[in-house]
């Protein structure tokens, strides 16, 4: 079976006046139809830039310097502007973090949905309306008719994000990249939307790349996990296995700092330090300054090593598996 999305050796660099920021520096990802991949990392790890790169939405001074992005076998890197535009929104869609900001505040929902529809095919108004209503119904909005004529500020945060998801679904894409879509929402709404997305992905076979910093979200949603650090994937594998027995010290640290996993009354573990600036990154493992297991071997960059069972880790001193 062809993968819905296959990313190989992706490098996206930003050429700023302070130097070259290697926001994404060699990322490999594979995701099959109907599956959910959780792309996890702290802010600044390069996970959002990875998502934007996949859609070809990197603006100067940034650009994709190397690598390949294949969508159902079609190469996307190097497409001209018009060809890239025809893929965006039709075969691959993206939704963003803050539903307050992602819908145009001065246009009605129907105007925005019709524009999204007509970006790829001429649709008469009645048909467009039917399609929009259907999409709004599919994401569990109770009153699609009313929603269609509303302005974004008249909707709640959860409803707005559902509208955004409906827009992403309009052309039945094979992949949706979701960049922290529930982070700005209340926890209860967050749960509803996660459930909705899981159902949609299972029903329609759309592959989801779920970008988040929240391991709790990933554990309830994703089939697979990829953990990013400083522009690289440091660990990946089936979600259950990685969460149960992380092999990279960074993944372990992330898990230990989730409050729910800690024992009551005990001090919450934390990872010392913070993610390094990505300008002039010294060679070697980027995590070594924060890592208790680091030694002189870590001054060269470890390759990502296959551990069997679809798992891989980028570390010279991985933790013991269970």
């Amino acid at each position: 079976m062809t993968a819905a999305l296959e990313v190989r050796g992706l490098k996206t660099h930003f050429f700023t006046r302070d130097g070259v920021v290697k926001a994404v520096d060699g990322v490999d990802l594979t995701i099959a139809p109907g599956r959910v991949l959780g792309l996890v990392g702290e802010s600044g790890s390069g996970k959002s830039v990875t998502g934007l790169s996949v859609l070809g939405l990197i603006d100067p001074p940034g650009r994709i310097v190397e690598g390949s992005v294949r969508l159902e076998g079609q190469e996307l890197v190097g497409l001209n502007r018009e060809a890239a535009r025809r893929v965006r929104g039709r075969k691959i869609a993206m939704i963003f973090q803050d539903p307050m900001m992602t819908l145009n505040p001065v246009l009605r929902v129907d105007t925005q949905m019709f524009m999204a529809l007509r970006a790829h095919e001429p649709v008469p108004k009645d048909a467009a309306r039917q399609q929009a209503l259907a999409a709004l119904g599919r994401v569990g909005l109770p009153d699609p008719e009313q929603c269609l004529t509303a302005y974004p500020h008249q909707l709640s945060g959860g409803m707005r994000q559902r509208v955004a998801i409906a827009i992403a679904l309009l052309h039945s894409p094979s992949v949706i990249v979701a960049d922290e879509p529930t982070t700005a929402l209340d926890v209860s709404i967050q749960g509803q939307i996660l459930q909705e997305m899981q159902r949609l992905s299972a029903d329609t076979g759309v592959a989801l790349v779920w970008i988040t910093h929240d391991l709790a979200v990933v554990s309830s949603l994703a089939h697979d996990i990829a953990v990013m650090y400083a522009g690289r994937i440091v660990e990946q594998g089936p979600a259950e296995d990685v969460l149960a027995a992380p092999r990279h010290p960074y993944t372990r640290g992330l898990l230990d700092s989730v409050p729910g996993e800690a024992q009551p009354g005990k001090k919450l573990a934390q990872i010392p330090g913070s993610i390094p600036a990505l300008v002039d990154l010294p060679p070697g493992c980027a995590f070594r300054a924060r890592c208790s297991r680091a030694d002189s071997a870590c001054e060269t960059m470890p390759e990502i090593a296959d551990l069997g069972g679809a798992r891989a880790v980028r570390c010279f001193h991985p933790l013991e598996g269970r």
């Binding site: 700023t16 006046r17 302070d18 130097g19 600036a277 300008v279 002039d280």
Partner: protein
Amino acid sequence: MTRRDVSPATRFWMEFAENRLALAALMVVVLVVGAAVLSPIFAPQDPYDIGKLVLGDARRPPGFVGAGGYVHLLGTDAQGRDLWSAILYGLRISIQIGVTAGAVAFVVGGTLGAVAAFSGGRIEALIMRFIDLQLSFPAILLALVLSAVLGQGKWQLTAALVAAQYAYFARTTHGAAVAERAKDYIEAALSTPLSSRIVVFRHILPNCMPPLIVVATVQIANAISLEATLSFLGLGLPVTHPSLGMLIANGFQYMLSGRYWISIYPGVALIILILAINLVSDQIRDQLNPRLKR
């Protein structure tokens, strides 16, 4: 050496110097201000000493050697003034008035805006309502009427300019201070035993400075332009002390007969000064705008 290792001021300067146009503009500003301040040294003639003007030298083209025995580099005006000297002295007056008006407007407007932001409630509403009202009025009209009412003279003109401009500073200070006040660190500082005065002076006002600096540079350029406009209309300075605007106005009638220099050179001097200030302020504004950072 990377940029992250240096102090913010040095970094600011390095970034500024990267825009060569802005750097050149800054040099022009320094040069013009220097020449204007030292104008008695550079000017061969005191253009305001009517006794020294020779009518026989009036309206002579650039390069003419007059009764004083020196070359009139830019020619002479209708009263026989050496234009180069008159321009230098005119620039001096323009800069003096522009900077004084800007500084007074800065202090008055800044104080009003800060008082409004920190008193809140009715006082704030009253002050800001009035400021908004005034801002909806074009500054030139206000300055025009005031200078007509107050009469001619350097101080009257400065007062008219201050009245026309302080409101911009007030609104900027108020906006910045309110935004600053709402930030968490101010609440944190206020919850400590520090007196609120210390919080205002040590924390809030310094953070209001960047937008105020931008407004100040723009307003000084504006004041200079307004002064020239009022003088051009005959409402600014007395005829015995012609500023650039009046030199231009006086020369206008001779322009039609081909004696272009009387109007053109003062105008060029004026534009160079205003343009240079605006270029510098544009660059500062871009650098201080966090939304354009990447």
